[in-house]
């Protein structure tokens, strides 16, 4: 039996990697994958505790998040493609028109 803290540690690690990657990387696709990482980190967290407390709530949440993530992936990728067509670039720093 793997101890609970391992799961939690792993989920925190995945989440942190996602956050850091989102903050540091410039490539839109990579940033997008980092968002997925964060979501999945949270998913793991939820599943862990669902198992620990034998409650289905966490599991249901995970399904919800996965659905949202799928939808988000579809919309997000579409936006990225549209952006790339316009700018011939996938660099997020080129996406800075919305400022003062």
């Amino acid at each position: 039996m793997v101890p609970l803290s391992y799961y939690l540690f792993l989920s925190g690690l995945i989440f942190s990697i996602g956050v850091l990657g989102f903050l540091i990387r410039r490539n839109l696709l990579v940033m997008f994958m980092c968002i997925e990482l964060m979501l999945n980190g949270v998913n793991l967290f939820l599943v862990t505790f669902a198992k620990k407390f034998s409650s289905l709530d966490g599991q249901i949440f995970v399904f919800l998040i996965m659905t949202v993530a799928a939808a988000e992936a579809a919309v997000g990728l579409a936006i990225i493609i549209a952006f790339f067509r316009n700018k011939k670039s996938a660099n997020v720093d080129d996406l800075n028109l919305m400022k003062w």
Binding site: V19, I24, M31, N96
Partner: protein
């Protein structure tokens, strides 16, 4: 018909709305019909009310008709209501009757003016305001009419607003009367403060018990109300607007001088006679101002050369007589003079208009003379007016003026000095009116050559009103023939219900002998005035010039109207303009605008700094999101 007394002011209002809103579309002819017809109908209603009033016994001639409630606030209640009593009926008849005649004259006089509709709608509004003023049964409604009259005088004096001098004259009239109106408003507020009510009946019935006789409060109230009357009725020191009001069309002058506007002040003093009788000091001031104005304005009129200006000063002088009468407690005499004056002054202005009409707008009497041959109708009508205003026996002005002089002499409030001033003024009046008359119609023609071929008598629509007024000027006084001359004084008796005196009737001199003696004296002085005028302007035309040369100083002072306008400009208008400039440049531009612009500038600066946060880089937003989440989390963890 008394139940329908609201029709009297309502009909001219309807005329105003019709002409004002639709005037351009209904054509000149119909607009003239609407303008005259509404006032004529209102005159008929007033006449009917008058005849019904006569059918009641004298003590029951008092009605109040409430249309609807206007203002309700706690115990304070103001109605739109009209009061029908002898005083308001007389005023109604004068305003609508003389007003109608003037409307009729205007049809011919203003026929070619492009602002025909505007003119008639203003004229109707004027009549409406004045009728509201005289018929109101409370002070607030009176004030409504009061302000309406002021507004209309502004609109009509400045009727030819494209002319600079007319626009200025309109403003002058409005602002000058405004000074008086301020006093009037304060007086009404004081009345409200004292009585908690503004209805005539309540105020007048409570006044003797609430206010002490001759106390400071009643003196203040009456003097403030009188200040308003001084402004509207053009007395010293606020008379300066009336001579300039000549810039308006002649019928407007006739309306302002005869039927509406200037008579408002006399009416208010007469209406509030209960209050004035409680304040002997105010009565004295009214009498002194009246007498002073009478002789002062008459002296200016002696040397003026503009025919309408002479008439304007004569109006001021005659109004002085009316106030003199009110001041000595002879309110009925004041109203009687107002009544006769309305006829002959309207007539004289319409006559002056006809002369102007004939001479292509000439107003200088040095460029007239011998017009009798060309304008026979105007000549005879004008003669009737001149005889009436001079006070020739059995013309209307004679009865009213002599009664005022007698009352000024005999009343306990009057005295020899007041009588003497009125007496001298009577002589001066005769002189300047005959100077005017002789210079226009008699003597040698001094008309400019280029005008001469165009001289023509006025059209029928102008002469008929003049004839009507001329007849009234002759016979109008016969309803008030004093007892001394075997008359019955119907007019005074009719009004006596309104003016029935309190306890103090003692001290009045009753002497038929003295009265007839004074009457003879005043007729003599009038005849002397006429004789001098005839000598100066017909038989020896060189004389006035020589006199003017000899007494250059006084002549110049009179010709320049005592330099009062110049003085006012220097002493009051100038400083006020400077004050207004200071308010504009400093208070408005620097301080108020400074605040508004300053706060906008500061906000702009703050947001200029704050907007730097919006970098446009997704990372920065994400970082702040993360930091925010951390802070919230830290708060919950470390709490």
């Amino acid at each position: 018909m008394i139940d329908y007394c609201w029709l009297v002011p309502f009909l001219p209002l309807l005329g105003f709305l019709l002409n004002g809103l639709l005037g351009k579309n209904i054509g000149k002819k119909l607009a003239g019909w609407v303008g005259c017809g509404s006032v004529f109908l209102s005159f008929l209603v007033a006449l009917k009310i008058f005849s019904e009033l006569l059918s009641y016994p004298a003590s029951e001639r008092f009605f109040q008709k409430t249309l609807f409630t206007w203002v309700v606030s706690g115990n304070f209640n103001i109605n739109i209501g009209f009061q029908i009593d002898p005083l308001s009926t007389v005023m109604m008849l004068v305003v609508s009757g003389v007003g109608f005649v003037i409307h009729l004259y205007s049809v011919g006089y203003m026929g070619k003016d492009p602002g025909y509709f505007r003119y008639f709608s203003f004229l109707n509004l004027f009549v409406f305001s004045m009728l509201t003023l005289v018929m109101a049964d409370n002070f607030l409604l009176l004030y409504l009419g009061w302000e309406g009259v002021g507004l209309c005088s502004y609109l009509l004096i400045g009727f030819w607003y494209e002319k600079r001098s007319a626009a200025d004259a309109g403003k002058k009239a409005f602002i000058t009367t405004r000074i008086g109106d301020l006093g009037f408003a304060l007086g009404i507020i004081l009345l409200f403060w004292t009585f908690g009510n503004l209805n005539y009946t309540q105020v007048f019935s409570q006044a003797p018990s609430v206010l002490s006789h001759g106390g400071a409060l009643i003196t203040a109230i009456t003097l403030l109300l009188f200040l308003g009357a001084v402004g509207k009725s053009a007395q010293i020191p606020l008379y300066v607007w009336l001579p300039d009001a000549m810039e308006g069309p002649s019928p407007v002058s006739a309306l302002i001088h005869a039927a509406t506007m200037v008579t408002a002040g006399v009416y208010v003093v007469a209406r509030c006679h209960v209050l004035y009788e409680l304040a002997p000091l105010s009565m004295g001031i009214v009498a002194v101002i009246g007498a002073a104005t009478a002789i002062y304005a008459a002296s200016i009129a002696l040397v003026q050369n503009d025919i309408k200006r002479i008439l304007a000063y004569s109006t001021i002088s005659q109004l002085g007589y009316m106030f003199l009468a009110c001041g000595v407690g002879a309110f009925a005499c004041g109203i009687f003079h107002l009544f006769t004056h309305a006829f002959f002054k309207a007539l004289l202005f319409l006559g002056a208009g006809a002369v102007m009409h004939a001479l292509s707008g000439e107003l200088d009497l040095r460029k007239m003379g011998d017009l009798k041959r060309y304008l026979p109708v105007t000549f005879w009508c004008f003669l009737a007016g001149v005889l009436a205003i001079s006070g020739i026996p059995f013309f209307s002005g004679f009865f009213s003026k002599d009664e005022i002089l007698w009352k000024a002499f005999s009343s306990p409030h009057g005295g020899f000095l007041l009588w003497l001033i009125g007496f001298i003024t009577a002589g001066m009046t005769a002189f300047y009116m005959f100077r005017l008359f002789c210079s226009i119609f008699l003597g040698k023609s001094r008309v400019e050559e280029k005008v001469k071929p165009h001289i023509h008598e006025a059209p029928k629509s102008m002469t008929i009103p003049m004839i009507v007024l001329a007849i009234l000027s002759v016979i109008g006084g016969w309803i008030g023939i004093p007892h001394v001359l075997g008359g019955k004084e119907h007019f005074g008796k009719f009004l006596s219900v309104v003016f029935e005196k309190g306890p103090e009737t003692h001290g009045i001199i009753h002497s038929a002998k003295a009265e007839s003696l004074l009457m003879i004296l005043s007729v003599l002085v009038v005849l002397i005035g006429i004789a001098v005028a005839y000598l100066f302007y017909i038989s020896r035309p060189q004389l006035p010039k020589n006199l003017a040369e000899k007494y250059k100083g006084p002549y110049k002072v009179l010709l320049n109207k005592y330099y009062v306008d110049e003085f006012y400009n220097k002493a009051i208008v100038g400083p006020f303009i400077n004050l207004a400039l200071w308010f504009w440049k400093f208070i408005d531009v620097a301080i108020i605008d400074g605040f508004a612009n300053g706060s906008a500038y500061i906000l702009g600066w703050i947001s200029g700094v704050a907007r730097k946060v919006q970098t446009g880089y997704v990372r920065n937003y994400a970082l702040s999101l993360l930091l925010g989440a951390v802070v919230i989390l830290a708060y919950f963890v470390l709490r």
